[in-house]
């Protein structure tokens, strides 16, 4: 089984953000927040939501600054390989810990309310194969799956909030907590936040066209608004008895069910919790995989899935076994890890912006990755050396720029190059602003001599470069003759 990782578009990213922002925030958090700073805890929540939004804004600037680079490369180029490995190792642990917290809360919720006699293993058995499969299938599959489920999730969330509003029948006591207790509560319950760090892990796998940033920002804002609304409705519904109701989204539906006599309306919220749990765990696993790959570059990515499963099961089965330990873990240990998205990450980005190194474009690597099959065929049929393909890492931007300038055609050495592949490549190169629509991508037959005259290079460096890198064993002499 191979890990596939194709890029996702702005809509898919927007939906992923929308879904991930609910992680660990709509079940236990509202009750804990109220316990800490009563109604004023909403200010703490507001601040934490703003921080989460800040991470998305940070991602926007990072993407603008380094449009095609991966975050790992940015870190490596500016801060060195060791820093990069250390940083990614911490991210790995961060997402594993988040997954553990989320799973525990969800599992205990279902065990307490429905599956009283269900063992941990049985629930793990329901979750792990599906999240593993979804994460292995890659980002694009995950993005498309979330696209399918998005209307259901959005609809249920909206329904829960609207129904919950009917349950508000209390007079809450405002301004009863001190500023310090608000701060303390915010700091104590910060662990469900910082999820938006995942954006930086998939930075190079996201294609955001001009004008599509509004999708990202609006989905983030709507999601955070929903989180805030759920917290508000829950607190206004239960006020002083919030501590008796640990599962907010379920309880706001339950309140209406019990007092409005609307049958088992609360089941709708359970469907939502299940769906969200699957997607949250998958995203966490994906983040773990990506960071694992950066730490252990030589190990196949599939082992990251196995490692995640191994550590996840060990922690869930032996260490964090009940809601109490999960809450202690979330309140006492996990908050320290939050310095990763809210302190280390911005500092790293700041250093990178100050150093401002010109990083080599590694989008060609991405092209190769995304079109591995086609390229493999090309290499096989054309009998070329790996280094001699036009998609090799060493290829220079200047070649394309010259092509663009002179409106010449780009020749690719291949026998079986498909039209689809040519179109795709052209689209990518146009997006990267390396060629324009006038440049054609043509197939260079095996026996043809590469005609440098056609290209009419004015740039001497490029000419030399072409001579150097477009060496084909059999035609070496011919080519050199032409260039002479």
């Amino acid at each position: 089984m191979k890990v596939l990782d194709r890029s996702i578009n702005a809509w898919q990213l927007g939906i992923l953000i929308f879904i991930l922002l609910f992680a660990n925030k709509i079940l236990v958090l509202p009750s804990l927040l109220f316990e800490g700073a009563k109604m004023e805890s909403l200010f703490a929540l507001l601040f934490l939501c703003a921080c989460e939004f800040g991470l998305v804004v940070l991602f926007y600037f990072a993407k603008k600054k380094f449009p095609t680079q991966s975050f790992s490369k940015i870190v490596r180029e500016h801060l060195g390989n060791i820093t990069k490995i250390m940083f990614y190792f911490l991210i790995m642990i961060f997402f594993l810990a988040k997954a553990v917290l989320l799973y525990n809360v969800t599992y205990i919720f279902f065990r307490n309310l429905i599956y009283k006699d269900t063992s941990n293993f049985l629930i793990l058995f329901c979750f792990l194969p599906i999240i593993n499969h979804l994460a292995i299938c890659g980002l694009r599959v995950l993005g498309r799956t979330t696209q399918i489920f998005f209307p259901i999730i959005f609809g249920i969330l909206f329904f829960c909030i609207v129904v919950g509003v009917f349950g508000i029948n209390n007079r809450p006591l405002f301004f009863s907590s001190s500023f310090m207790s608000i701060l303390e509560t915010g700091a104590r319950h910060i662990s469900p936040f910082g999820d938006m760090m995942f954006l930086f892990l998939i930075m190079d796998r996201v294609e955001i066209k001009k004008g599509q940033w509004k999708i990202i920002f609006s989905s983030t804002a709507i999601s955070l608004l929903f989180v805030f609304a759920i917290n508000l409705v829950f607190m206004l519904s239960y006020t002083f008895t919030c501590f008796m109701h640990p599962y907010a989204i379920f309880e706001i539906m339950s309140f209406v069910k019990e007092y409005g006599g609307l049958g088992r309306i609360d089941i709708i919220s359970m469907v939502l919790i299940i769906l969200l749990a699957y997607f949250h765990l998958t995203i966490y696993l994906k983040c773990f995989m990506l960071s694992f790959h950066e730490v252990f570059r030589k190990i196949d990515m599939i082992y990251s899935v196995l490692s995640f499963n191994f550590f996840f099961i060990i922690i869930v089965v032996f260490f964090i076994v009940n809601l109490e330990s999960a809450i202690v873990f979330g309140q006492e240990i996990l908050p320290y890890s939050i310095i990763l998205p809210y302190a280390i990450l911005p500092i790293i980005l700041l250093i990178c912006c100050i150093k401002n190194k010109n990083i080599k474009n590694d989008n060609f690597r991405k092209i190769i990755k995304n079109n591995k099959k086609d390229i493999k065929n090309m290499q096989k049929n054309a009998n070329f050396n790996k280094k001699t393909t036009i998609f090799s890492k060493q290829i220079k931007k200047s070649i394309f720029l010259t092509l663009k300038k002179t409106n010449k055609n780009l020749y690719i050495f291949s026998k079986n190059i498909t039209t689809k592949f040519k179109a795709k490549l052209k689209k990518v190169l146009i997006d990267l602003n390396l060629i324009n629509s006038k440049n054609k991508i043509l197939k260079l037959k095996k026996k043809e001599v590469f005609d440098f005259e056609k290209l009419n290079f004015k740039n001497y460096y490029s000419k030399i470069f072409m001579q150097k890198h477009f060496k084909i064993c059999k035609r070496k002499r011919e080519m050199s003759e032409v260039t002479k």
Binding site: F125, H133, N170, L173, F174, S176, Y238, F240, S254, Y259
Partner: protein
Amino acid sequence: MKFFCQQLIKTPMLLVFVFMLIFYGIVAVAMPAEINQYAVVTAIGIDKAEEEENNEIYELTLLTFVPVAQQSFTEKYKLVNGKGRSVSEAMDIASLNIGREIGLSHLKMIVLSKEIVQEGVFKFLDYLIRDIQISSSTKIVTTDTLAKEFLKTAQKLDNESSIKVSEHILFNSEYIYSTESTLETFFKGEFGPTHVGLMACLSSKSSDEQTMPTAGSDLSNGSGGDGQQSSSAEEIITQCHVYVFKNEELVVMLGEREMKKVNFVLGDYSNGSIVVKNITDNHFNDANLTFEIFDNTISYHIVYQNGIPVVNIDTSLTLRLSEIEQESEPLQENVELYVVSQTVTNALEKKVRNSMADGINIMREHQVDIADFYTILHNNNPKAFHKFLDSLEDSDDYLNHIVFKVSVRIYEK
């Protein structure tokens, strides 16, 4: 088949799905029915039993639903007892007695005996707060007899008629004479800033002792399931008081009339009636008029005068004349088109205003802020209110130092 096997091997998720199907299928078939595993408890009664070795012993009575396979639908209920040093232990013993695990998901009512209530309710209710299965809308009531005896009456009612005792409280709470009495409302009050919780008190009485019947029993088998009281009624459930707790202790017991006065201040009702006596105007001659409440709105406006809060309570009532009692001949007027005269309106306003004043006096006398004026004043101006509280010798006695002004508006439906 070969193709299917190949596809199965190629698609690991399909393998997992098939495995889950087989695994869950077998588990589901092999598992006993939940109804044979759990005793579905619909009501719990908590009494105090005699002490054993200087340990307090509690007696738990569980009203359990027993499903019986029959052609016609009949609900059968059974009473189970359990004694223990704590509610938790008594629950275990009751579980042993019935031979099934106690399932509290369908719990509708908790009954506390008077003795238990006078001791302080929280130590008995703590178990119930912690049990996640218990719904927050579970009714909580006290009884002037033993909870065990009360549940026996409830069992009869539940077995023999369509009336559920737990539904009494829900129904009664809409009336001006009573209050909502659920775990949620009780704890909201007790954990709120005023620490005042209300609990309804139900009593089981023989029909000849009855004063204000709310439900009948011993209905004709199968045919009279509509809740009508028959002439041969043996025992009935009546609401006698509303118990007011402050800081876990029972402070005062309010009767129906007193509760009505307090409810006028709370505005927490949707049904009820108001009687004005000795009305003489163009239409009536020394008549007693009864008005039915259709709608009510209440608002509180606060101003501070010399650091003392003045609470203006504005209430609007929409009423409908429902009964006329007068010595002379009956009134021959279209009942729908009858317009209430100013004299009647004034009498009604005076009556409601006096009731509200009495309600405030009840709260003042017992220092129980049932209407939660604390929150209203705090939210209005926290700084001024806390300054006012600091200026008092006994800050708990703030109700006696607040000035209340009541204005009533009467509208005719």
